[in-house]
C-alpha cells in the first residue's frame, strides 16, 4: 500500500518549565511554544492558515486564540476531547491539508495545572454537574485514579495481570526520564523524592493510592505546554528540519454499556483504522508513545493497539522489553519519560506527538537507532468509563 505523504510535522516545541510558579498563563505558554515551533520549521506566524485548539486557554477559543496569536486562519477546529485532543487535531490537519483547505496547521497546548494546585487525580468529582451522567455518579466519591484502578482490578481478575507486571511500565518510563534533562528538572521542580532509576520493588513499595494502583503508577501533575506545526508536502520540503509524515489516523469513542468490557478501550477502533490507513502493522513500529496517565492505561492501550493480544499485556511488558535499548524486542515506550516521569499538565496528547517526532528526527535523549515508524496514541477522558481514543502513525522521511 502506498503511504500518504500529504502532510508532515515540520516544527515542534515542548515548553521546558514544569513549574512556572504562577508567573505565566496557559495562553502565554501556548504562544511562546507556538513561536518556537514555527521557528523550528523556519516559518512565521503569517504562514499559519489553520488553527486547532482544545480550548484550555478559555472560551470561544477558535476566535480568541487567533486574535491572541495574531493570525487569520481559514480553517478553525476546536475539537476538545480531553488528553487525546491533539491526536484528533493532527488527524484533522492532515484531512484539511489533503482537501486543499489548508497548507500550514498550528496546534498548541498550555496549562498551569501545577501552579493552580489542581488535584486532577484525587479530588473527587463535584456532584450537581450539568451532564446527567455526572449527576448520577457524583455521590459515590470516585476519583480519577479510582476510575483507572477499577480497570486494573478487572484486568487482573480476567487475565491474571499482576502489579509487578504493571510496574514494568513505570520502571521503563523512569529509565527514559533519567536520560532526559528536562524530565529530571521536572521531577526536581515538582519535588519528587529520591529521583533515580526505579525497580519493580520500588513501585510495589510505594503507597497504594487506589487499589491496585501505587503512587509510582500515577502520572505527575505539572505545568507545561507545547506546539506542533503541520505542513502540506510542498511547504514541508522547504522547512528547516526533515519532515515527519503523518501516514495514518484513527478516532473513536467508548462509554459504559450494559455488560461492556472495561478492560477494552476505544484504541481497538482508532488503532485499527490508523494501521489500515498507514498500511503498516504493530510489529513494524519502532516507537510507542502511549498515553501514560497510569500504568494500566499503557497496558490496556498496548493490547488494544495490537502489540499483543487482549489479556497478554502483562507478559508482553515483562523483562524490560519496553526499554529504548531493546529494539529487537519491540517498540520503545514513552522515550521522553512519559506522563509518569516527565510531563503531564492534564492533557498529554501533544507530548506524544512531539517525542514521536523527535525520535524520527534522531533528536531524542533516549534515541532508538534508525527509528522509522512511531505511533502516538492519546486517551482522552477516563479509561474506565467514557473516553476517546486518537491514534496517529508517523513515518520518517
Amino acid at each position: 500500500m502506498k503511504q500518504s505523504r500529504l502532510a508532515a510535522i515540520v516544527g515542534i516545541h515542548e515548553f521546558r518549565d514544569r513549574d512556572v510558579m504562577g508567573e505565566l498563563s496557559a495562553l502565554q505558554i501556548k504562544a511562546q511554544s507556538a513561536a518556537r515551533a514555527l521557528a523550528d520549521a523556519g516559518l512565521n506566524w503569517s504562514d499559519v492558515d489553520a488553527i486547532y485548539d482544545a480550548g484550555e486557554g478559555g472560551g470561544m477559543s477558535g476566535l480568541n486564540i487567533s486574535e491572541y496569536f495574531g493570525i487569520r486562519p481559514r480553517v478553525i477546529d476546536t475539537t476538545a476531547v480531553g488528553g487525546s485532543s491533539y491526536q484528533f487535531h493532527a488527524a484533522h490537519a492532515l484531512r484539511d491539508i489533503a482537501a486543499g483547505k489548508a497548507r500550514l496547521a498550528l496546534l498548541t497546548y498550555g496549562s498551569t495545572a501545577h501552579s493552580d494546585r489542581r488535584a486532577i487525580g484525587v479530588g473527587g468529582r463535584a456532584a450537581g454537574g450539568l451532564h446527567p451522567a455526572d449527576n448520577l455518579d457524583g455521590f459515590a466519591g470516585s476519583t480519577l485514579i479510582a476510575n483507572y484502578a477499577m480497570v486494573a482490578q478487572r484486568h487482573m481478575f480476567d487475565h491474571g495481570t499482576t502489579s509487578a507486571q504493571l510496574a514494568e511500565i513505570s520502571v521503563a518510563t523512569r529509565l527514559h526520564a533519567m536520560r532526559n534533562p528536562d524530565a529530571v528538572r521536572a521531577m526536581e521542580d515538582l519535588e519528587f523524592l529520591d529521583i533515580r532509576e526505579t525497580t519493580i520493588d520500588d513501585v510495589l513499595n510505594s503507597r497504594v493510592i487506589a487499589d491496585p494502583l501505587h503512587l509510582l503508577e500515577c502520572c505527575m501533575i505539572s505545568d507545561g505546554g507545547g506546539a506542533l506545526v503541520i505542513a502540506a508536502a510542498d511547504v514541508a520540503r522547504d522547512c528547516r528540519k526533515k519532515p515527519v509524515w503523518i501516514i495514518g489516523t484513527g478516532e473513536a469513542t467508548r462509554y459504559p454499556t450494559m455488560g461492556g468490557d472495561i478492560t477494552t478501550s476505544a484504541a481497538v477502533e482508532s488503532g485499527a483504522i490508523a494501521f489500515a490507513e498507514a498500511g503498516v502493522t504493530p510489529s513494524e513500529i519502532d516507537i510507542a508513545m502511549i498515553y501514560d496517565s497510569f500504568s494500566i492505561t499503557v497496558l490496556t492501550l498496548l493490547e488494544d493497539l495490537g502489540f499483543c493480544d487482549k489479556g497478554e499485556g502483562g507478559s508482553y511488558v515483562t523483562g524490560g522489553r519496553l526499554r529504548f535499548d531493546r529494539p529487537s524486542e519491540g517498540p520503545a515506550l514513552n522515550t521522553d519519560g512519559g506522563g509518569l516521569s516527565s510531563n503531564h499538565p492534564g492533557m498529554r496528547g501533544i507530548f506524544l506527538l512531539l517525542e514521536a517526532t523527535r525520535q524520527l528526527r534522531g533528536e531524542s535523549t533516549a534515541q532508538v537507532d534508525n527509528a522509522k515508524l512511531s505511533i502516538a496514541h492519546g486517551n482522552g477522558g477516563m479509561l474506565g468509563s467514557r473516553h476517546t481514543g486518537g491514534t496517529i502513525i508517523l513515518a520518517a522521511d
Binding site: G123, L130, A140, A146, Q153, F157
Partner: protein, 137 residues
C-alpha cells in the same frame, strides 16, 4: 467527625430528576423503550436504540453483582477524605444497567469482583442514595 456532607445530586437536572425523585420511594429506576426494548441508563428523554419509542421507567430489584471496584486510600475531598479507606464499585444490576456506587457496611477487604450485593439506601433531605452492601442470602 465533622458536618461536611456527602455531595448530593442536582435534583433539577432534567434527565435525572425523575430518577432521583423515585429514590424517595426507595426505587432504583432504569428506562426501557416501549418500541425496541432498548434499556437506557443513565436516564435520558430519548431512546438510543430507535427514533420512535417512548422510554418507560422500571424499578430494579436492587440486587446486583460487583463488576469491578477499588479501595480509595487517598482523597482531597473534604467529605470523602474522612471515609478512607472506602470502596467504589461498578455494580451490574440484575436487570442489566451498570451503576457507579459504594459498597458499605462490609469489611472492605472482603469486597471482590463477582460479589453479590443489594441496595442500601442512604437517607438525605430530598433524596436517597443507592449504596450497596453484601447481599443477605
Amino acid at each position: 467527625m465533622n458536618d461536611i456532607k456527602r455531595p448530593l445530586p442536582n435534583l433539577e437536572e432534567r434527565d435525572t430528576e425523575d430518577f432521583w425523585a423515585a429514590t424517595l420511594d426507595h426505587e432504583l429506576h432504569f428506562q426501557q423503550c416501549s418500541h425496541c426494548d432498548t434499556i437506557v441508563f443513565y436516564p435520558r428523554s430519548h431512546c438510543t436504540g430507535c427514533t420512535e419509542g417512548e422510554l418507560i421507567s422500571k424499578a430494579a430489584s436492587g440486587m446486583g453483582t460487583v463488576y469491578t471496584y477499588s479501595i480509595i486510600r487517598q482523597s482531597y475531598h473534604p467529605f470523602f477524605r474522612n471515609l478512607i479507606p472506602y470502596v467504589v464499585a461498578w455494580i451490574d444490576l440484575d436487570e442489566g444497567p451498570r451503576l457507579l456506587s459504594n459498597v458499605i457496611d462490609t469489611d472492605w477487604q472482603a469486597v471482590h469482583i463477582g460479589m453479590r450485593v443489594q441496595i442500601s439506601w442512604e437517607t438525605h433531605e430530598g433524596v436517597n442514595l443507592p449504596l450497596f452492601k453484601a447481599a443477605q442470602d
